[in-house]
């Protein structure tokens, strides 16, 4: 912390009201659009889409992916990405459940977060110190975790006490408790990214690492921290899924393809995949779009395989729309010749 405190926004950095970075408004317009189309589609079949129960389902469906995607936002903003989160979610769900079986709730959560932090630290150090591209580094980490999981587990293991299942199933009024966990994580992330020096450093490193370094930003520490925060969020998702499932499962994170889908959710939220632009508010929008789609499909009893087709199309079309609107995206786009 002895580095000169030159933040990219200058001395008054903490007080500058930042313009929204990235097309957050468009993201929420897209969300409203998806919601309206879903409403019409369900209504046409004689169903009722706009109910409290349905809204709660959408929120509940958002929690696990939301936690992973919020974490992914840190690393993508910093110009990295993390392909190991799916296996990390599985691993931490198992760590949670097995520790809770013997040692109680608090040690269980702490153990899961500690494991996550170590994995994130390893990712960050491999990316920064060894200079391995983040794609390969975290893909390698995913393979390592996968080998460990497949070698040691064939099915669910451990058990969480009933008291801990409150996190997965209880509600405060109509709102599931787990939604507050997501909301708190989002709030902390928003604060870190927008109101702390670390947050500004993350944007700076993701925008242009070399310029950030020359401006006195500790780029290595910033990127390692981003990887640790990402892993901690994935760890929270593992803890939540353990509570939801009542045990840990080696497929808890991989079945839903949280690695690629979380990246898609972040980009769907208007954050630039190359880093430096975007934010957690957009990510929440992206996650809600995917969760709304899921809920619509469930209500229409659409073939689950067909879901993926529509998901893929929606993701690509939405990102294409952002690219059309965002001048910056286009300037960086593959249109060098025009």
């Amino acid at each position: 912390m002895t580095a000169p405190s030159v933040t990219p926004t200058g001395r008054s950095g903490a007080f500058v009201r930042l313009r929204p970075r990235g097309p957050v408004g468009v993201v929420y317009l897209a969300l409203v659009g998806v919601y309206l189309v879903g409403w019409l589609a369900v209504a046409a079949r004689g169903g009722d889409f706009v109910t409290v129960g349905n809204t709660v389902t959408i929120l509940q469906n958002s929690v696990a992916l939301g936690l992973v995607a919020v974490g992914q936002t840190y690393v993508i903003l910093a110009g990295s990405l993390d392909l190991s989160v799916a296996y990390l979610v599985s691993l931490t769900s198992l760590v949670t459940a097995q520790t809770m079986q013997t040692a109680g709730v608090v040690p269980g959560v702490l153990a899961a977060l500690a494991v996550a932090a170590v994995v994130g630290l390893a990712n960050g150090l491999v990316v920064t110190r060894l200079g391995v591209n983040a794609f390969i580094a975290t893909l390698g980490m995913a393979l390592i975790l996968r080998g460990y999981l497949e070698h040691n587990y064939t099915g669910p293991a451990g058990a969480v006490p009933t008291s801990f299942q409150h996190l997965g199933y209880d509600r405060l009024g109509p709102v599931p408790v787990s939604v507050f966990l997501l909301a708190a994580t989002v709030a902390v992330t928003w604060f870190v990214l927008r109101r702390t020096r670390l947050g500004h450093h993350i944007y700076a490193v993701g925008g242009d690492e070399e310029v950030a370094r020359l401006s006195g930003v500790p780029t290595t520490r910033t990127r390692v921290t981003a990887h640790v925060l990402c892993a901690l969020c994935a760890g929270l998702a593992g803890v939540f899924l353990a509570s939801r499932l009542g045990a840990g499962a080696p497929w808890a994170g991989t079945e839903a393809q949280y690695d690629l889908v979380s990246i898609a959710a972040v980009v769907l939220g208007g954050t630039l995949l190359a880093g430096g632009r975007g934010g957690v508010a957009g990510t929440v929008g992206g996650v809600l779009i995917l969760a709304t789609l899921d809920t619509v499909f469930d209500q229409l009893a659409v073939d689950p395989f067909f879901k993926n087709v529509v998901r893929g199309v929606v993701i690509v079309v939405a990102v294409a729309l952002y690219a059309r609107r965002g001048v910056d995206v286009r300037r960086r786009g593959m249109r060098g010749g025009s």
């Binding site: 990405l81 200079g131 391995v132 591209n133 893909l139 070698h151 395989f305 993926n308």
Partner: protein, 342 residues
């Protein structure tokens, strides 16, 4: 093998890389490949029997072909995450076609698959250039669409079978030369074609585009068209791999799963920079051979199937890290994150 012999006699005025530059690009992965082959020879002295070596080449063919296609996309500054799904779709579609129309000539099915791969690639290319969607997302979307469509169509259990004459390319030998599997012939053809393509003006322009698309554009390169071509060729390569995989292993809804990451890993093992502009196609294919040699070695050593991926992860990270160190004098961009210019 380096693809960098000096230009033949004609007085070419255009730029050519220095003769040794290409060798230096290929060297680290060749060291890795040779080390793995030596290890294979130590563990299994019979590995270099011509017959078994050809069997190894045949097993490597799909991954090497995918790596060649993936190289074109990566060197031009993108990613192609859809190739695994294209392989699966190709295998399943072929089986369904034979199911719908038994007695269909196998060449027709091969043509349909190649056209399908071309179409998928062109769509990937257009979405990521004309519509400015990052290729990571564009091809991820394509992957979801193809996976979903294949499972939706087959309800998770592919029907049909692949007749003997269609499977010939994947598992039989050339008639009259029983020692030579067709897959090795296909591999050689694709390999030579890839090297010739990269030595052509178009290939060199592709690398330049990946290095700096703005500069390439200002120099008159049709950047979007070139990138669409790269995706299209990657799609065709994936279709070729699908034909081989189908012949080799038969019908399965998991035929191609994981191939996209293996192909990208192979290309990176070959020292090709993610983000584009650097690396040779020979090195990328050598990376694929290395990866396949690693799989073979782990199997021979009896590393259990589950731990295999863990060992693979460690070795891939180590190899790329070591490769990065020996490169760092020339390349200042090794620390660059995944940053396609999108």
């Amino acid at each position: 093998m380096t693809g960098t012999e000096p230009a033949s006699g004609a007085a070419h005025l255009r730029w050519r890389p220095a003769p040794l530059a290409g060798l230096r690009a290929v060297a680290p992965v060749l060291v890795l490949l040779v080390a793995l082959l030596v290890a294979l020879a130590v563990v299994d002295p019979g590995f270099f029997d011509p017959e078994r070596l050809l069997a190894f080449l045949r097993r490597s063919a799909p991954l090497v072909i995918l790596a060649a296609g993936q190289y074109l996309v990566i060197v031009s500054g993108g990613f192609d995450l859809s190739v695994g799904a294209v392989v699966t779709a190709g295998v399943v579609v072929a089986a369904e076609l034979f199911n719908l129309a038994p007695g269909l000539p196998w060449l027709v099915v091969v043509a349909v698959l190649l056209l399908g791969g071309l179409l998928v690639g062109v769509v990937n290319g257009i979405v990521s250039t004309v519509f400015a969607v990052p290729s990571f997302i564009a091809t991820l979307g394509m992957m979801l669409v193809l996976q979903g469509a294949v499972f939706f169509w087959t309800q998770g259990a592919p029907r049909g079978y692949l007749p003997e004459d269609y499977r010939m390319l994947g598992r039989s030998a050339v008639p009259g030369a029983e020692w030579l599997p067709w897959a090795v012939v296909v591999l050689a053809v694709v390999g030579v074609a890839a090297v010739l393509f990269m030595r052509s003006d178009t290939g060199r322009t592709l690398v330049a585009t990946g290095d700096n698309d703005v500069a390439a554009g200002l120099a008159g390169v049709r950047v979007a068209r070139l990138r669409i071509l790269a995706f299209a060729l990657s799609g065709v390569a994936a279709a070729v791999a699908a034909i081989l995989v189908g012949g080799f292993t038969g019908v399965s809804a998991q035929a191609g799963s994981g191939y996209e990451f293996q192909a990208i890993t192979a290309v990176v093992l070959g020292g090709v920079a993610l983000g584009g502009g650097r690396g040779s196609v020979v090195a990328a294919m050598a990376g694929a051979f290395s990866l396949q040699a690693l799989f073979t070695l782990l199997t021979l050593l009896g590393v259990s199937g589950a731990l295999e991926s863990a060992v693979q992860g460690v070795i891939v990270i180590t190899a790329v890290a070591v490769g990065g160190i020996s490169w760092s004098r020339r390349a200042t961009r090794t620390h660059q994150p995944v940053r396609e210019s999108v």
